[in-house]
């Protein structure tokens, strides 16, 4: 395989090629940097750390010659610009932090580095991760690699673009209402939002304390599993496909409306899972009806509390959409937040009940495929695009249950993501279920 072709290979293959010295880390880094330059119009990166990456590659190559072993030794990754990186500016996609150079790495970044990963740079995102379109007013509107007139989704849009366009071997992102899973679905790759708290958030610029998660964005389920193991400080292990998997198909009102092409791709994916031995069962989760309001009240309050000082001292330094969201949160009464927490408890209880009947839940990740840049409304009345994009992902930020988005087909020319949700702490099962679909789709 040529070095350029390796840019599109799964992380596990990249690591294996490096291990048997079929390619050097330096060759790989150069190939990715070349791709990054050629694909600059996608606006995936905010900062490219070329010389730093080459230095890391030289060190990795020395270790590879010595037959050192580490799970990600020499693998070139890229990092959402919400994670602090020592000596490399960390903007959060904002004007406010445009010149912020941290003195330390985020804990998640440290774990990647300790596992031997090379970092190519920092990836574009919706300002402060507070939005899902990735129309960043300061660092450029990120573009979907399948169709640059469309959004990649966000807030980890740069992370998904970089994976799909072959600008890095894999990436990491954060997810407060769907920010890993939405861009993974709209761009056509795998995104894992682990159980709340599983991946450390130390050194990640927060958005909503009780909703923030960090996790991998990758080309395959096995790649996501490898990164998940490293990010959680566990030894990597093979992904095992579960036998006799019981899949709950949600039938609630929250799931409607969904674009016809998305519904059809979801249906076909469920049939493939059934063909692979899974058993499908319809499951009701009526508490989902409260999730939109609960997510909104929780996030508005938590984000506005975090941004309290800047919102008052330098409101004009925010992009307009983010400023308005923060202002609304600053005006909302505390009783809304309390109501939202009660709703969350109900939702968690409902989800626990559902998992007494099935092993995982399956639903579309987003009800729409990638909208056009600047599109404000969903293709049906009274739902804004950003509301539609988080409608099916945010319930699992509220509950903290792990959720995986993986490609399940196309609607027209655009990717569709299937979302699988597992009980808290059951990432192995979740990744295994994802692998089942991935294999059945080959």
């Amino acid at each position: 395989m040529s070095t350029d072709a390796l840019c599109d290979a799964p992380l596990t293959e990249v690591v294996a090629s490096l291990g048997r010295r079929a390619v050097s880390a330096r060759e790989l880094v150069d190939a990715y940097l070349d791709r990054i330059e050629r694909q600059a119009g996608l606006k995936a990166f905010i900062t490219v750390t070329a010389s730093h990456a080459r230095r890391q590659a030289a060190a990795a190559d020395r270790r590879l010659v010595r037959r050192d072993s580490a799970p990600l030794l020499g693998a070139p990754l890229a990092i959402k610009d919400l994670f602090m990186t020592r000596g490399v500016r960390t903007t959060g996609g904002s004007r406010i932090l445009r010149d912020f150079i941290p003195r330390r790495d985020a804990a998640a970044v440290s774990r990647l580095r300790n596992a031997g990963a090379i970092t190519l740079g920092k990836l574009n995102l919706h300002e402060f991760a507070y939005g899902v379109t990735n129309g960043n007013p300061f660092f450029g509107i990120a573009r979907n690699p399948h169709d640059p007139s469309r959004i990649p989704g966000g807030s980890s849009g740069g992370s998904a673009i970089a994976v799909v366009a072959g600008l890095c071997a894999a990436s990491i992102g954060s997810d407060t209402g769907g920010s890993i899973r939405i861009p993974a679905a709209l761009c056509g790759c795998v995104g894992l939002k682990p159980t709340y708290g599983a991946v450390p958030l130390d050194g990640v610029i927060p958005l909503g304390w009780s909703l923030d998660h960090a996790g991998p964005i990758a080309r395959t389920v096995s790649d996501a599993a490898l990164l998940y193991a490293v990010l959680t400080g566990q030894p990597p292990k093979p992904v095992r496909r579960p036998r006799g998997l019981r899949i709950g198909v949600l039938s609630d009102r929250l799931l409607r409306p969904v674009e016809r092409g998305v519904a059809a791709a979801t249906e076909r994916a469920l049939e493939r899972l059934q063909g692979a031995g899974a058993r499908l069962r319809e499951v009701a989760l009526p508490e989902l009806s409260m999730s939109v309001a609960a997510q909104l009240a929780t996030l508005r309050a938590e984000a506005s509390a975090l941004h309290r000082t800047w919102l008052r001292s330098r409101p004009r330094d925010y992009g307009r959409d983010v400023r308005l969201r923060l202002q609304l949160g600053a005006l909302a009464p505390a009783s809304d937040y309390v109501l939202a927490q009660r709703a969350r408890e109900r939702l968690r209880a409902g989800l626990r009940r559902a998992f007494e009947q099935v092993d995982v839940l399956a639903l579309p990740t987003t009800p729409v495929t990638a909208p056009l840049v600047g599109e404000r409304k969903a293709p049906w009345p009274s739902e804004p695009v950003d509301g539609a994009l988080v409608r099916l992902t945010s319930p699992f930020n509220l509950t903290g249950a792990p959720a995986l988005s993986l490609p399940c087909g196309l609607a027209g020319r655009l990717p569709v993501g299937l979302q699988l949700v597992a009980p808290w702490g059951a990432e192995d099962l979740l990744l295994g279920a994802g692998r089942l679909l991935e294999d059945a789709s080959k």
Partner: protein, 51 residues
């Protein structure tokens, strides 16, 4: 007092500086937010005994 005036007053009290365009956009967003929260409060109302 209109909804917009009430919101402008609340913003001043919260020490937020709102331009006319922001106030306009916020008024619409606020209305939708209040509707959602009213529906949520209604769903959770069964927690209380009937008054």
């Amino acid at each position: 007092m209109t909804e917009r005036e009430a919101l402008a007053g609340a913003a001043r009290a919260a020490d937020l500086r709102l331009g006319a365009r922001d106030l306009e956009a916020l008024t619409g967003a606020w209305r939708r937010y209040r509707e959602l929260m009213a529906a949520l409060a209604e769903e959770l109302a069964e927690d209380l005994p009937p008054g």
